[in-house]
Amino acid sequence: MTNYSYTLFIPLIPLAMFLLIGLTGHKFKPIVSGYAGTLGLTVAAFLSYITAIRYFFIEGAVDGTYPMIKAVSTVWLRFTDTLHIDLGVLIDPISVMMLVVITTVSLMVHLYSLGYMKGERGFARFYAFLSLFSFSMLGLVLATNIFQMYIFWELVGVSSFLLIGFYYEKPSAVAASKKAFIVTRFADLGFLIGILMLSFTTDTFDFKTLTSLDGPIITSTAGASFMGLSVITWSLIFIFIGGAGKSAMFPLHIWLPDAMEGPTPVSALIHAATMVVAGVYLVARLFPAYAIAAPDALHVVGYVGGFTSLFAAVIAITQIDIKRVLAFSTMSQIGYMMMSLGVSGYGDHEGLGYMASMFHLFTHAMFKALLFLGAGAIIHAVHSNNMTDMGGLRKYMPITHITFLIACLTIAGIPPLSGFWSKDEILAAALHHNPILFGIGFGVAGLTAFYMFRLYYNIFWGTDRHYHHTPHEAPAIMTFPLLFLAVASVFSGFLPFSHMVTSDGKPFEAHTDMLVAIPSVVIALIGITFATIMYKKPSTIPDRLAGSIKGLYKASLNKFWFDEIYLFVTKRVIFAYISRPIAWFDRHVVDATMNLVGWTVTTASNKIKGLQSGQLQQYAMVFVSSVVILVLLFVYLISK
């Protein structure tokens, strides 16, 4: 077996950069930090590519299976003899794939930010956080055990928090970062409970043991059950809640649109390409457990994913803020991936959904990062996030325009761009397993094409707006990542994913199902056509259409009022009916009880003090009457 221990450096280099920039960044010129971070990531990316090439092409499958290799592992914290958190590096197809995705996108974002963030206050801080994020995300995907994953899970959460709140003087950014952290934290609670339940049942955290076919999960007979589902199922559902939180699945999605308050490169990296797919990655990581031991949990995953993808697509149609459109589109696409996992079986061609999900994860990372970076370039030029402030930009920003168009076509699923291939596999998998989900997926494909082109036309076509200064193309340091990602978006579809990343590690032959491919292309084209009619030239159709379905339009525009519901629950219910009463109870009941004890003692002592009045005759009176009473008692009453 090959020695992969050098992969340890892939996460450690960004960590070192984080510490270096974080501790000494303020001593140098800001740009030094940027170069240092970028350089570090370049090395990491280089190592990742080497690893991928070695793993997939040089070493290849052993006995027809891609092995799961623990390259490095050291005990970090011991709970019991069997339960201990190890820190290590796990090499298997999905982790290697994720290494490539993360380092690539992260490197592009690092480069891009050199231009985008130029002159910002806190430039060094930005790069420090980016490095921290890269470290955490790489640690997450390389995790050898579920607790290590949880550790890095939290770390990516906090990096995301820090980056969303990068403009910490802006109240909306602060609120968004807080929201993101708390919502995902809430989900992580589910994750943690899931881990506790799982570890209690199986007595291990180790992924290799958990997912092996003769491991404790899969071999364990259902055991105790609760509400008809086994403990394993429950724990996997809880773990999925964690994943759903990070991946912004319904109903834990509300943080993602707000997270767009962060700098745009961050949105591209964290909230489009890498961190938000952690949930998908988590389910994929435990996939054998889901697929074999807890199919019910997998169904939950599928339905949640399917519903989210539809739900988000509907909202995306009406949003004005271009980053929000992209955010909902991200949600929708991740829902797609989840759905795909949900409709997958285990092994061989049954595992098509799994493969498709990973495939889509890969391609999505490329084109979504591209879209966000493109959006960033546009925002950089226009100084606004709203598409109502844009229009006719195609002549000012040709490179951005072309790359953005490519990305739109990719996400819409037009062959032969990468999005087509991955989406096609997903739909094929859904068709075989669950027609309802297929229907949803099919509809979402059309909606996606529609809203993406609505976005595209609104930005690049239509009339010029009144710009403060003439928009101009971004500098080369920003356009290079766009071009690179555009190329990746175009060609990544041709990667032989079914030969590399499969549910059981064994390659299989996937073929394009014309029965699925043709309708999906057709519906995408229909979506694009509608968008072209409505938005290419200024027209009144959108307004009239909106008028005719007013209720739905309004619901979509307001994101189905989910923010308001959450706000209601947190502010009105938790604050007003739990926290405040508890605080009140503490002050006015518990504390008052203690004070009452004190008051009783003081008052009693004051009263007793009053007895000692200094009045001689009062004492004498008491003395005499007491003697009389005592004599009466002892001589006459008790003795007789």
């Binding site: 914290l77 019991t80 609670l189 508890i582 605080a583 503490d586």
Partner: protein, 499 residues
């Protein structure tokens, strides 16, 4: 003199030296030297302890030393350390060291202040090294009583009230402890044999179960008061809010740990049968503490109140874990004591520093301080992240150990309350982020705050010491955890054997 007694002697010597100091300058230099020596000694102790263990010395207690000081009642001055006490001593040294620097600029009666503060720490050290229950109690009282003066004289706000409340409630706890200890003493040996206060001898003899049932709740409650057990925690918000910075640090950071440590060392260790029988009552109370404290913190407006309630929650977790009575949870309890000690000390230090600049602790009167006070801001964020259990900082290690340990129980009740307790991590995130969001982020709310100056060197030293310790525990928890585990094993075996 034996090595451990120096831990008591150095503070006492420092206090005596301070008596000859002329002004603030000399006082603080002497204090700093004394506490640095203490920190150095602690480092040496940790090293020596680990070296002994590495050399294969498997005795439960190391560096033992024994003198009889009251023959007729068989009271000894017996000292010794195991992994748990070494950890607690290390915590105390770090916190007192940071505390001295945090109160660098005490201008009102500085000599008296430092004398009380350091005297208090000598009590704490004595408590952690004692193996004789009576001596332990003596040191406990030494640690608790200067608190009254420290809050009553150097405090802010309704300081007399708070000091009185705190002292009286803790004295109430002490009274229970005293009764419990006497109960233990009179049941410490079979009839006709010499009664003893020695922890190990009592453990070896065992206490009759009937007596246990009676004295366990007294001892547990008595220590629980100091450990902020619901509903006896209300001294904590007022006390902490009124106390001066270093006192809050030491009190929340170390003194509250005396409660947890005592509950574990005395109540649970000596009376496992009763503990097993009655644990459910206290488990309910502690899990209430955990959740209640967290929710209570959400709506507070005063920084110190927030932290005090947060302490209630975190210390509740300590007692909660102790009551789970298995190796992992107990290990978690000790880790949590250390972790909470460090981070709450950091919090209070920072709150003191911020208060010293803005002259308010109301979060809604401040805002955007990150911009003017970047060092303190970053430190506050780190403290907050430690508090909400971010991996890589100490809180995570401790909480996870507790949760995993507590969940290992086979019966449903324990697992259910564990899940209840885990919800606190979300609520913790809510209040921590709320404070960070309002206090540090956003626009600057008060124009006067624009001209604030960032941390001075002593403030930096104080916070960096604590942050380093937090990160050290958080990043390399294994040595600490293994050290504690090693010493816990015989204790847990004894507890389990008794059941």
């Amino acid at each position: 003199m034996d090595i451990l007694s120096w831990f008591v002697a150095i503070p006492v010597l420092t206090v005596m030296a301070i008596l000859f100091a002329k002004d603030l300058k000399q006082t603080r230099i002497i204090s700093a030297i004394g506490m640095s020596a203490q920190l150095g000694l602690t480092t040496w102790l940790v090293y020596a302890y680990l070296a002994e263990r590495a050399a294969g010395n498997a005795a439960a207690w190391l560096f033992k030393y024994d003198v009889t000081w009251f023959t007729s009642l068989n009271i000894h001055y017996t000292v010794g350390v195991d992994g748990i006490s070494v950890a607690m001593i290390a915590l105390t040294s770090v916190v007192i060291f940071a505390g001295v620097f945090a109160s660098w600029r005490t201008d009102y009666l500085p000599r008296e202040f430092f004398i009380s503060l350091i005297l208090l720490s000598s009590g704490v050290f004595g408590f952690f090294i004692s193996l004789d229950l009576f001596t332990m109690f003596l040191f406990y009282e030494i640690a608790v009583i200067p608190m009254y003066l420290l809050i009553g004289i150097w405090g802010t706000g309704p300081k007399e009230y708070s000091a009185m409340k705190l002292t009286l409630m803790l004295m109430g706890g002490s009274a229970l402890i005293m009764v419990g200890l006497l109960g233990v003493y009179f049941n410490s040996a079979p009839a006709g044999q010499q009664l003893t206060f020695n922890l190990n001898e009592i453990a070896a003899n065992g206490i009759p179960v009937v007596a246990q049932q009676f004295f366990f709740p007294m001892l547990f409650l008595g220590f629980g008061v100091l450990g902020a057990l619901f509903p006896f925690h209300t001294w904590s918000p007022d006390g902490h809010a009124s106390a001066p910075t270093a006192v809050s640090m030491l009190h929340a950071g170390v003194l509250m740990k005396l409660g947890g440590y005592g509950a574990f060392r005395v109540a649970i260790y000596l009376m496992p049968e009763a503990a097993q029988d009655q644990a459910w009552i206290f488990i309910i109370l502690t899990s209430v503490s955990v959740v209640y404290g967290a929710f209570g913190a959400v709506v507070q407006k005063d920084l110190k109140y927030i932290n005090a309630y947060s302490s209630v929650s975190h210390c509740g977790l300590v007692l909660f874990a102790i009551l789970m009575m298995n190796q992992t949870a107990l290990n978690g309890a000790i880790l949590q004591m250390i972790s909470h000690g460090l981070m709450t000390a950091l919090f209070f230090a920072l709150i003191g520093m911020i208060y010293g600049r803005t002259h308010t602790r109301m979060i809604n009167e401040m805002g955007g301080l990150m911009k003017v006070l970047p060092f303190l801001g970053v430190a506050y964020v780190i403290a907050g992240l430690a508090s909400l259990g971010l991996p890589g900082l100490s809180g995570f290690v401790a909480e996870m150990t507790i949760f995993v340990g507590a969940y290992q129980h086979t019966d449903l009740f324990h697992r259910f309350v564990t899940i209840m307790a885990t919800t606190s991590i979300v609520v913790t995130a809510v209040y921590i982020l709320r404070v960070v969001g309002v206090l540090l982020f956003g626009p600057i709310r008060d124009e006067h705050h624009l001209h604030l100056t960032d941390a001075t060197w002593w403030e930096r030293l104080s916070t960096v010491t604590l942050i380093t310790a937090i990160a050290a525990v958080g990043i390399f928890p294994l040595w600490l955890s293994d050290m504690i585990n090693f010493s816990l094993r015989p204790i847990v075996e004894r507890i389990v054997a008794a059941l």
